[in-house]
């Protein structure tokens, strides 16, 4: 077959099977071995996969909320695609959590049917963005930290976490570049954009404290060679943020705050708002596919 361009090729057929966005997505880990590494408490591995999976799931939802609201069409596409990458990581991690847990919960049950207190993400992921500069500041913090984390995970003794890390590094590299590019453009832009970017980093960056506070689960898995002690990511994170601030003509990053218990299920009203929207369809139509 030959086509003048990619779009003609896509629209040339009436066949619905051509379209990727179909019905009933199935297990993204189909055919991947599922053993738990020696010396690891399965409950810890479940909790860890939920932590990293929920960070990605909730952040992805917040990014999707920007579609139709971003300043330019190109940025809507960027935010939607970054959200899609994170959703893909969340699917793998939640599927892994469900498999190791062994009570029959799949990715959908974990995403759509858990109560707020069962979510294990950091507060940064759920924060409502005051404006585009706040979103960009949040994405810079999130992607810088996550890129460093995924990079360390590539040497995990758990082959699935190692594979998720190797794949995610490539994706997160672009996420961080996108966010850093906007921080520089706004920080080193007009007086107005500089003022708003500065307010955004002052408002958002202190929340990064929680990202580097090791949870007991993280410490046990790090000792077992499976997880990452997030405190070890701090130097790389500080170096990247200092460089972005410098190029963006922003003052050095503000001090970090202590976390408020997101890893233990303590969340604010913002999560309830997110889950009301995210879970509404699944709860109203149990088992439904489209």
């Amino acid at each position: 077959m030959s086509f003048d361009d990619a779009y003609e090729a896509l629209t040339d057929h009436d066949d619905d099977t051509r379209w990727a966005y179909g019905t009933g997505f199935s297990d993204p880990l189909a055919g991947v071995p599922t053993a738990v590494p020696d010396g690891v408490d399965p409950a810890d591995l479940v909790a860890y996969c939920l932590m990293l999976g929920d960070d990605a799931l909730v952040m992805s939802h917040r990014l999707q909320q920007w579609v139709t609201r971003a300043p330019e069409l190109e940025d809507e596409m960027a935010l939607a695609n970054i959200g899609l990458d994170l959703l893909g990581q969340a699917r793998l991690l939640l599927t892994r959590a469900g498999e190791v847990e062994g009570t029959g919960r799949d990715e959908d049950a974990l995403a759509y049917l858990r109560e707020p207190a069962a979510f294990r993400h950091v507060r940064l992921a759920e924060r409502l963005d005051d404006d585009f500069a706040h979103l960009i500041a949040r994405l810079l913090v999130f992607s810088t930290w996550r890129l460093a984390l995924l990079d360390r995970l590539t040497t995990s003794r758990d082959p699935i976490l190692a594979a998720i890390g190797a794949k995610g590094v490539k994706e997160a590299t672009y996420h961080r570049e996108y966010a850093a590019g906007w921080v520089v453009r706004l920080g080193d832009g007009t007086d107005v954009s500089h003022t708003r970017m500065r307010a955004a980093v002052d408002g958002v960056e202190p929340l990064a404290g929680e990202l580097f506070e090791p949870h007991q689960v993280e410490l046990r898995l790090a000792a077992a060679g499976v997880g990452v002690d997030p405190a070890t990511l701090r130097t790389e994170y500080d170096d990247v943020l200092a460089e972005v601030h410098r190029v963006a003509t922003l003052p050095p990053p503000p001090p970090l705050q202590e976390g408020t218990g997101g890893r233990d299920g303590v969340h604010g009203p913002e999560l309830v708002e997110i889950l009301t929207e995210m879970q509404e369809l699944a709860r109203a139509n149990p088992g439904g596919v489209w």
Binding site: F3, A9, Y21, E74, D85, A166
Partner: protein, 163 residues
């Protein structure tokens, strides 16, 4: 006689239907298992929704070619890289107006370096062949492509990013 690997490799990508899975390097292995053909594929991006359609398309193509019900396994490691796209695949992308990827960046240890100010300015325009083009957006219609513009012929185009 066409073998199963050829059939699986000939399946077209659901979102880039002018290139095959073999062109893209998505099919990693095809072999005869105890209860049928086993096809091993690797996802391009973890969130890529096309993977579901690709699995279904492989099973359907092998069934229609008389190989029975195939099993499709996913491997996450080693992670897919654009370096696995064949030369003929790159030529087909260019012919369809999508700039193919250059060589993927090689890691040498240490933290992933921060790049500010856009990357790979040397992407060639697939319309007029001009060698220097500018990035308009880091992500376009799919996560795997960025959106660029040619300063010579003024045409916008997509480019498969190196990963």
């Amino acid at each position: 006689m066409v073998n199963a690997a050829t059939v699986a490799g000939s399946v077209v990508d659901p979102e880039l239907p002018f290139v095959t899975l073999a062109d893209l390097g998505i099919v990693r292995d095809v072999r005869e298992g105890a209860d049928g053909i086993v096809v091993t594929i690797t996802p391009t991006y973890t969130g890529c929704p096309a993977m579901e359609a690709i699995r279904d398309d492989i099973v359907r193509a092998l069934d229609e070619a008389g190989f029975g019900r195939a099993h499709v396994r996913t491997v996450l490691s080693p992670a897919w890289t654009t370096d696995w796209i064949s030369e003929s695949g790159k030529a087909k992308l260019a012919a369809a107006g999508i700039a193919p990827p250059g060589a993927a960046p090689r890691r040498t240890g240490g933290p992933v370096p921060l790049v500010l100010g856009g990357r790979s300015a040397a992407v060639t325009c697939p319309h007029c062949g001009h060698g220097e083009t500018e990035q308009l957006a880091a992500f376009s219609a799919t996560a795997c492509k960025d959106l660029r513009r040619c300063p010579a012929c003024r045409e916008p185009f997509e480019h498969v990013k190196e990963i």
